[in-house]
Symmetry: C2
Subunit: 415 residues, 2 copies
C-alpha cells in the first residue's frame, strides 16, 4: 500500500479515535502498555537485530546507547504509557462559553488535530511515547523512524496495534512507515489534505530537511543555545548552582546551557568560583578576552563558540558591561529556546523577561526545567521554537485545537 | 530597499510595538483613526486613480464596488479602527499560573507573534483593518495588497505611518509592499527567519498560490461550502428562516449556505415551502432526483453542484435517508468551514456536533454567524480551516501565542 493510502486509512481511523471517551482512551493506553510488557521478548529480540546491524556498520557508542533497549528501559517505556493514560484528557474541554446578545450560545471546545506525522531518529522509545500522546489526544499518528531502529520500531508498533484492534479501533490509527526511502518521506510531507501536523525530532539536519520539504504544517525546534546571565544583583550561590546544573546535569539535552554571560561588576568574584566548579566536572571553558582576565586557563572563545550548541561539556563565557549588553548578546545568538537570568533585582528580572522573545524565560531557575514534564505538562511531544500554535515545550494540549460550537433557537443574522 | 531589508526593519520595529502598554496601543490606534479622517481627501483622490485605472481596464462592476471608497466608507474604516482600539489587549494575559512541587512558579503569558504578512486583493479597507489588528496585538505587519488598489493602499498606509511616527514607533512596523512583482512576493513568502505568519485573503487562486509557495507558516481558508441539514425533528419555521438567512442575506460571503440537505421524512412538507421562499428571492435551485419529486421546477444537480461554492443566488438540494447519510454527505463535501443542523432533538444535535470536524458547527443558528464579530471576537483578521493554532474565525488572540515565564529561587533539576 502506498504512503497516500496509508495516510487515508490513518485519517479514517483517527475519526474513530476522535469519538472515544476519555475513559476509553485511558483504558486503551493502559492496554498498549500491557501489550508492550507481554511482547517484551519479541521487542528485545528485534532490538538485538538493530544493534547487531548498527555495530556491523561501526556505529559509535553514543548512538548505540540511544538505540539499545533492555528489560529495564522497556518497563520504563510501558510505565510512561501508563502515566500518559492517567493524564487529564484535553479533548472536549470547553475554553470559552458565553451567550451573545442575540441569545446564541458560543462555546470553544478542544478537538484533536487529526493526523500527526512524527519524523524521528534513533531512540525506539519515541515510537511508543509519541504514539501514546497523539492517541491520548484523539489523533491518528504516522510514525516515520530511522532505518537504524526499524526492527525495534516495527516490533513496538505491532504490539501497540494489537492493543488498538483489541479496543475496536482500526490499527491504522497508528501507522508505522516501513518504506524508508527518502522519496517516500517527501511524498508523506506533501500530503497536506491528509496530515494536519508534522513534528520532526532528531538532529538539526533531519529537522531542516523536513522544514524545507514539507507542505504540511511543521512544528519544530532546531537547537537550544541557552544562556545563563549572572546579573550584578545575582546571589552568587544560586548562580553557581544554576550554572553547574544547567551545564553538567545532562550536557546532551537541548535545555542545557551553552553560554555564560557575567556582569562586569561581579566577574572578578564569580568567574574564578565558576571555573573551579566547572573544571572539577571536566567542563572546557572558552572565554572572551575580558573574561580571560579572571580565567587564565580558559581557551579563547571565537564568534562560532557563541553561536554553538555544544551538547557537550564545553561552555562559552563572556563578560558584559550590563544587563542591556547581555540582552543584545542573547538577542543576537538566541535560538528562542530558553534563557535564564540570575538576579535578586525584580526590575532586572522584568526587563529580561520583557526584552527577550524566547519560548521559555527563567528567573533564578535552571534551564534544565525547560521540559514538558518539569513545567507540569505531564509529558512532552516536542518543543516548538516556531512562534505559532505552541511555543516552548508541547504537551497534550498542543496536540489539540479549539473550534466553535454554536447553539441557538433559530436566530438569523438579517433582522 | 529590497523586501528582505524591509522585513528586517519591520521586525526591529515590531520589538518596539511589543513593549508598548495596552494604553499606549489603544491611543496609537485612535491616532491612526484620526489620521485617516484628516487625510480623507488625499485617500479619496488616490482611490479615484485606482478606480479610473480599473474602469479603463474594463473591470466588472462587482470588483469596482469592492475597490471604491467614499466619505461614508472611509468613516466606516476609521470607526472600525476605534473599535479595535477599544478591544481588550490579549498581550500579557496570563493563561496559566501555578507553582510546581519544587517551588518554581510557571506562568503562560500571551506575547505577540512577531511579524505578520497579509497578502490580499481588492478591498482597500483591509489595509487599515489588518494593520489595526496586527498592531493592537503588538505585531509588525507587512501588507501586500493588489495592484488594482495600489494608490488607495499607499495613501492609507502613509496616513497610518504618520500616526506611528507621532507615537514614537518606527513606521516600518507597518510596511506596505509597493513592489508588486510576483517574484518579490515569492521572496517575501520565503523569509521564514523574519516572518512569523502569512495570512492570505482573497480568491482561492491567490490563497493557493501563497500556500503553495510559502516557507513561512500560513493560516488560510480556501472556501466555504456550508451545509444546512434539516433534520426529521426540525422546527420547520426555524428551518425556513435559517435557510433564507443563510442563502440570501449575503450570498457572496464565505459563511453563506451552498447546500441544503433534508431528511426524507420531512421533504414532502419542507421542500415546497423552501422552494417558494427561495424563488421569491430569486434563488436558483439545483436538486438531486429524489428532491425533484417535490421540486418540479428545480434543475438537476450534478456532482459539481455539491462541491461548489456558488457565492451567488444558487443552492444545491439533496434529500437524505437520515442524519447519518447527511453526515457522510457533509464529510465528503465539507470545506471544514461552517455546518448547521436544524433539529429539536438533542441527541441528533450532539451526534452532528461530534461527527463533524468543521471549524464551526451550529445547532439552530444561521451559518452567517460564523464571523469574528458575531461570535464575540470583536474583530476578525481572517478565518482558518487549517486545524492548527486557530480554527474558524480569528480575532486578536489568534495574533498572539503563549510562552513560558518561570520564576524560582535557585532551584536546580539535579538534586
Amino acid at each position: 500500500m502506498d504512503i497516500r493510502d496509508q495516510a487515508l486509512q490513518c485519517r479514517a481511523a483517527a475519526q474513530v479515535l476522535a469519538q472515544l471517551s476519555s475513559e476509553a482512551k485511558a483504558a486503551l493506553l493502559d492496554a498498549m502498555a500491557d501489550a508492550l510488557d507481554s511482547d517484551a521478548a519479541a521487542i528485545l529480540a528485534a532490538n538485538a537485530l538493530d544493534l547487531a546491524a548498527a555495530e556491523a556498520k561501526g556505529t559509535g557508542s553514543a548512538m548505540l546507547d540511544r538505540l539499545a533497549l533492555n528489560p529495564a528501559r522497556l518497563s520504563g517505556i510501558s510505565a510512561a504509557l501508563r502515566e500518559v493514560a492517567a493524564l487529564p484528557d484535553p479533548v472536549g474541554s470547553i475554553t470559552r462559553d458565553d451567550v451573545r446578545p442575540n441569545g446564541i450560545r458560543v462555546q470553544k471546545v478542544r478537538v484533536p488535530l487529526g493526523v500527526i506525522a512524527m519524523i524521528y531518529e534513533a531512540r525506539p522509545n519515541v515510537t511508543a511515547d509519541a504514539a501514546a500522546l497523539c492517541i491520548k489526544a484523539g489523533n491518528g499518528v504516522i510514525l516515520r523512524g530511522g532505518s537504524e531502529a526499524i526492527h525495534s520500531n516495527t516490533a513496538i508498533a505491532a504490539s501497540l496495534k494489537r492493543a488498538l484492534r483489541a479496543a475496536g479501533v482500526p490499527d491504522a490509527a497508528l501507522t508505522l512507515v516501513e518504506d524508508l526511502r527518502r522519496e517516500t518521506m517527501l511524498t508523506l510531507l506533501q500530503l497536506n489534505d491528509l496530515i494536519d501536523l508534522a513534528i520532526p525530532r532528531g538532529g538539526e539536519g533531519l529537522i531542516r530537511f523536513v522544514a524545507e520539504h514539507a507542505r504540511v504544517p511543521v512544528i519544530k525546534h532546531y537547537k537550544g543555545v541557552c544562556h545563563l546571565y549572572v546579573d550584578r544583583a545575582a546571589d552568587p550561590a544560586k548562580a553557581l548552582a544554576l550554572l553547574v546544573d544547567g551545564k553538567c546535569s545532562r550536557p546532551s539535552a537541548c535545555n542545557s546551557l551553552e553560554t555564560l554571560l557575567v556582569h562586569a561588576e561581579v566577574a572578578a568574584t564569580f568567574l574564578p568560583q565558576a571555573e573551579a566548579a566547572l573544571r572539577e566536572r571536566g567542563v572546557e571553558v572558552r572565554a572572551d578576552a575580558r573574561a580571560r582576565q579572571w580565567l587564565p586557563q580558559a581557551t579563547p572563545a571565537t564568534e562560532d563558540d557563541f553561536a554553538a550548541e555544544y551538547l557537550d561539556l564545553i561552555i562559552a563565557v563572556r563578560v558584559v558591561d550590563d544587563l542591556e549588553q547581555a540582552l543584545s548578546h542573547i538577542q543576537q545568538y538566541s535560538s528562542d529556546h530558553t534563557e535564564v537570568i540570575v538576579t535578586e533585582d525584580p526590575a532586572a528580572a522584568q526587563r529580561f523577561i520583557s526584552a527577550l522573545r524566547a519560548a521559555v524565560v527563567m528567573v533564578n531557575a535552571s534551564s534544565r526545567f525547560s521540559d514538558g514534564g518539569e513545567l507540569g505538562l505531564g509529558a512532552e511531544i516536542g518543543i516548538s521554537t516556531t512562534r505559532l500554535h505552541a511555543y516552548g515545550p508541547m504537551g497534550l494540549e498542543a496536540l489539540t485545537v479549539e473550534r466553535f460550537v454554536v447553539q441557538g433557537s433559530g436566530q438569523t443574522r438579517a433582522p
